[in-house]
Amino acid sequence: MSAPVAVVPGQPVAIAADVHWVGALDPDLRQFDIILRTANGTSYNAYAVRGSAGVAVIDTVKAEFAADFFARLWACCRPDEIRAIVLNHLEPDHTGALPELLLAAPQARVYLSAAALKMLKGIVKDGVDESRLVVVDEDTRVDLGGRSLRFLYTPYLHWPDTQCTWVEEDGLLFSGDVFGCHFCDARLFNDRVGDFRFSFDYYYQHIMRPFREHVLSALDQIEPLPIRLVAPAHGPVLRDAPLSYVRRYRQLATPQLANEAGEREKTLLVFYISAYGNTARMAQAVRDGAEGVDGVRVSLYDLAGGDAAPFVDLIEEADGLVFGSPTINGDAVKPVWELLSSLTLVKVKGKFGAAFGSYGWSGEAVGLIEDRLRGLKLRVPRPGVKVKLIPTDEELAACTTLGRELAEHLVGRAAPRHIDFTAPGALVA
């Protein structure tokens, strides 16, 4: 005997009194947003909330699933009953049916964040009559009669526009992508579906982790709420022990590795890779230079001996990063790029960075790494050190200086510098 199936074609699913799931199941999906994989497909969760004065529709579904969505929606309300359309997030997986919904319910007003307003034109290409749009803030309250909608300002989870919708009277949190996961299961409720724990964590790690600080500030708002049910935009509806998922987010957003260095110590990580030992000797010199600076703890890692993932955890907590690579075929080498391309998973903006490396005749690696560090929004205050083939004592001393100066930046003791860009051609260079 199989467990009861909640989701059947054409039927909405009640998740609370007069509140229905009107989403769609996409069991065959295996890749999402290019960057995620899913072993279980996904669901696009949309909801209809009824009060005595009308209905609010919270989010829609991906365009291909519009028919499923409307079949469920029209089974629980008439178009003219819809007073409010709430957009918690404009990504196409939640706004695919919006243009049609706007036409079907022309009297409905659209509630969205200030950031969403700026993106809406890009999503609904025919535009939306401005008189229908309501930009919400913490004081906005949409009265549906007997129950009302409030909005939490939770930007960057994981787009600038994201917000959560809160129904105080029933303790319902419509959280958008937050607390969601790509896990399609027709049993719908977290106490009925298969084990989705890894999908939940995986979704956090790939979608929310780069915005850890925004997650923490959202949790500060969410944790005090008397939540009875969390209705996310993907995956199971969390009705059993919903707060355990809120707590899990708090755990996930707390640094994975306790920092060995104390509060007052800054951490500098030196990563290198080396075929003949030249870049390796430069790495030692960079480390030696940095270690001479009080208050900085330096660590040295050979990228040939490790996978990117654990280094990403270290980098998330570090204050400064230095990368050393030889130039091979006109480029830095793949393990360096693998690590650098993994850094979109964590926040590195504002950390200090530098590069160094040995080369034979063209020496592109250092400049390319520096460009990438700047692209990742690091501060790169010191030009990197490039050495032709085997480093001399003087060249190793330049590496030591680079390490020392970067470490001085970390502790705020860098000597001020002056650069004159008014020399002819200086700005063009």
Binding site: K377, P416, H418, D420, F421
Partner: protein, 95 residues
Amino acid sequence: MPKAQVTFEDIGVTVTVPAGTRLIEVSEKVGAGLTYGCREGECGTCMMKIVSGSEHLAAPSVLEDQVLKDIYAGASNRLACQAQVLGGHVVVRPG
């Protein structure tokens, strides 16, 4: 040539530049922590704080004013991709 000075406080670097230079033209060259998205005054990514010398910057355009308002910027904030230094000495930092 009329000149101006800009200090990027977060990295302790002061530059001398021709008057009329936009900060975006130098901040990346020296490795300051100002970051850019659209580079055209629309996204607000490059918001910076003027620590001193704001009177030496060209007045913000209507577009810049609107974006600063949209991102709830304070009175001492400007967009680094837009702000043009006209002379004197301006001190800036990210944020």
